[in-house]
């Protein structure tokens, strides 16, 4: 009987040990003696690629910088990047691939707001340390998830900051607003309505357009007829360009505010002189500032010529997130674990990235709540300059 029990218990013991060691190994996946894997899923094809590619370039710059300095405690960082084409199902699969097949130790990114929200259960279940930098929406940090951190500022706060600034600068003026018919548009409208209520703004035009709309002739004609003097253009990229071009055609130039997803230099170039003097809000430094110029100088030798041309504000958000993550892993010493990295991310206090205000998290705080600043476009130099 004893022999039988011994025979039975040995494989069980072995299986138990293997299972335990497997769990221990799983907690430290993506790490070898020489390498540490960081994964990312972004829209690299299709129209949102303008954002996804730029963010991934930011990650690459931070990683190249760290690797040139010897890596994380002697381990070089390997960056694994997946394209989701802005398709939610593909984001989920991409994240699963990066975690399960590429065995990433940590994640950066991840794609758009809807995609990040959808992928949250996968990230939570896996427990992988993740720093999100592309689409900061409240759902990602409310309630706080143990392993998911968000660098940035909420869309609502951004809009409130911009509209408050424009309202104080243009007292008693008539307002116009146009938003997209998606979650982004609703967020913009919610932020706008908050200030309208608080400051009792006189809104004479409030429009809504279908995502993908390219012709804004009737919308802008209505805006003109309403006599709006301050205009919040709630489009993203092509929409804002079309709106400004249309206003130029109609020979009207209201004080215009745009939001950060569209605050990228190629947009300004496409708007032409019509884009001169528009106001924007952001939590990253404009490239025309000293910090922005320093960042470009730093980036130049670290990325290819094509990648350098693809740099925009999302490169800065990506860079900051990667810096924060790399610093947290580095603080874990020679044998970083997921638990340690999460704990160190939580302890992140006033980390300087050079491209935005210092980044901090805290116990139960998974959102860095970045400081906002207002900037104004300058078409001749194709740049945005801080307004203070």
């Amino acid at each position: 009987m004893r022999k039988y029990l011994t025979t039975l218990s040995l494989p069980l013991l072995l299986a138990g040990t293997l299972a335990a060691s497997d769990r221990a190994f799983a907690a430290e996946q993506g790490i070898t003696d020489t390498e540490i894997v960081i994964g990312d899923v972004e829209p690299l094809t299709g129209p949102p690629a303008l954002l996804g590619v730029a963010a991934s370039i930011g990650h690459k710059i931070a990683i190249a910088e760290a690797n040139n300095a010897g890596g994380i405690n002697g381990r070089k960082i390997k960056y694994v990047l997946e394209d989701d084409g802005y398709v939610t199902a593909r984001t989920i699969q991409g994240v699963k691939k990066v975690i399960e097949v590429d065995k990433a130790f940590a994640m950066l990114g991840i794609s758009g707001s809807g995609q990040s929200i959808a992928v949250m259960p996968v990230l939570e279940k896996a427990g992988i340390p993740t720093v999100i930098d592309v689409a900061p929406v409240k759902f990602l940090w409310e309630p706080p998830r143990k392993n998911v951190f968000v660098v940035g500022q909420s869309y609502e706060e951004g809009i409130i900051h911009l509209v408050t600034y424009l309202a104080e600068k243009n007292p008693g003026k008539k307002w116009g607003l146009i938003t997209q018919d998606d979650d982004y548009g609703i967020t913009v409208r919610d932020g706008f309505d908050t200030v309208v209520k608080a400051k009792k703004l006189n809104v004479v035009y409030s429009g809504n357009y279908k995502k993908g709309q390219r012709d804004f002739s009737s919308d802008m004609l209505q805006l003109k007829d309403s006599g709006a003097e301050v205009f919040l253009a709630g489009g993203i990229i092509a929409e804002n360009i079309a709106m400004m071009k249309e206003l130029e055609k109609l020979n009207v130039k209201p004080v215009t505010g745009i939001f950060w997803p569209g605050r990228i230099e190629p947009v300004l170039k496409l708007m032409g002189p019509a884009g001169n003097g528009i106001y924007a809000v952001d939590y990253v430094e404009p490239f025309a500032s000293a910090a922005g110029k320093a960042f470009l100088e730093k980036a130049k030798p670290l990325v290819s010529e094509a990648e350098f041309k693809g740099i925009n504000r999302y490169t800065m958000t990506g860079y900051a997130a990667a810096k924060v993550l790399i610093a947290a892993i580095a603080r874990c010493g020679k044998e970083p674990t997921w638990a340690c990295t999460i704990s160190e991310l939580e302890k992140t206090k006033s980390v300087e990235t050079g491209v935005m205000a210092p980044v901090s998290f805290g116990p139960g705080v998974r959102f860095s709540n970045q400081k906002l600043q207002i900037m104004q476009s300058d078409f001749p130099t194709l740049s945005f300059k801080p307004v203070n």
């Binding site: 690299l44 990047l81 084409g85 975690i99 809807g114 929200i117 959808a118 548009g185 609703i186």
Partner: protein
């Protein structure tokens, strides 16, 4: 070895299959599918889950387009309606998931009556455009009905618990999808063998002749729409649960095209074709990536960073190749192989 089909009784004639090897292989396949979730990692398992959900949706479309010959470009409209029906009933109104699944079938089925009615007078391209318009209208309705659907904000959906069984884990959810896929497969196979199924096929082959034979075109065309939308709605609910977040953005128009591509590649009007086509189309980009990664790591990276563009190109090439060289699809290819195997060395 069997060389011909000799059916001597009605029982043999209406049997799903009289071939023991087919039952045997089917049992082996089911057994493999039951074991798979315990062996595969989360990434590979996600392909299996997607395949099973897609099989349900494509079998739904197959009833309308494959059996009845009514082309639908707007089936994503039924998919998104099913997903929202489930999300609203279960996540918003806290109803049991079983009610959610029922609603995911019934609500798109009711919606299909709206789009099905014009089909009584429209055919071909005109019907295709009508169904396309329906998918756009349904998106607008969802976005505008904010009090019910949360508009563009979408609705978060949790994994269900049915009859005391939790489908929270990836493996459990795959089993749920497998259950629905097997049920749908048997349902569509049986529909095809029934009087209703034969009426559908008669309408597809020649609607005037079908009418002359006493088939009520109005009733059967609407029935095809309702059945197809019911099944597609269930697939929508499963897809919504898989995404864990239901929003209009999660159901792009491209899904309608992808479903039609699956039917063309698999073989129109065949349940087996729908299954083969789904497996082929879903796995094609990954299989291509694997093949190319054997030759070069750069190609692997290219497939990672340009996956969606390459995927669209691959779909295009495959559809062209199938239309040109194998219009009967994979199921046609399978029949050719089977015939060659049986008759070899004779050609026929």
């Amino acid at each position: 070895m069997r060389t011909r089909d000799y059916k001597q009784t009605y029982r043999e004639l209406v049997a799903l299959t009289d071939s023991v090897p087919v039952w045997l292989w089917s049992a082996i396949l089911i057994a493999a599918l039951i074991i798979a979730p315990h062996i595969l990692n989360a990434y590979t398992l996600s392909f299996l889950t997607i395949i099973l959900i897609t099989v349900v949706g494509v079998l739904g479309l197959n009833i309308l387009t494959g059996y009845t010959g009514l082309i639908s470009l707007g089936h994503v409209g039924f998919l998104v309606t099913g997903a929202y029906a489930y999300a609203v009933l279960v996540s918003k109104y806290q109803m049991p998931p079983i009610v959610g699944f029922l609603g995911a079938g019934v609500i798109p089925a009711l919606a299909s009556l709206i789009v099905g009615a014009p089909s009584l007078r429209l055919k071909g391209l005109y019907l295709a455009i009508t169904t396309l318009a329906f998918s756009f209208i349904i998106n607008t309705v969802i976005l505008e009905a904010r009090t019910v659907t949360n508009g563009a904000r979408g609705i978060a959906v949790k994994r269900p618990e049915l009859f005391g069984i939790s489908f929270e884990s990836e493996a459990a959810f795959t089993y749920l999808c497998l259950g629905f896929a097997v049920l749908t497969l048997f349902a569509t196979l049986n529909i095809r063998r029934s009087r209703v199924g034969r009426a559908f096929v008669a309408i597809r082959d020649n609607d005037i002749a079908a009418r002359v034979m006493g088939i009520n075109l109005h009733t059967y065309k609407l029935l095809a729409f309702v059945t197809s939308a019911f099944i597609t709605g269930i697939a929508g609910a499963l897809y919504g649960i898989y995404l864990s977040f239901v929003s209009v953005e999660g159901f792009p128009f491209l899904l309608s095209i992808e479903a039609l591509a699956i039917l063309i590649v698999g073989g129109l009007g065949s349940a087996l074709g729908a299954v083969l086509g789904t497996v082929f189309i879903v796995l094609l980009p990954e299989a291509t990536r694997l093949v190319f990664s054997l030759f070069s790591t750069q190609m692997d990276a290219l497939f990672s960073t340009g996956a969606q563009e390459l995927k669209s190109m691959l779909y295009g090439v495959v559809i062209i190749l199938f239309l040109r060289f194998q219009p009967r699809g994979l199921v046609g290819l399978w029949h050719d192989v089977k015939r060659t195997w049986v008759h070899w060395p004779l050609r026929y």
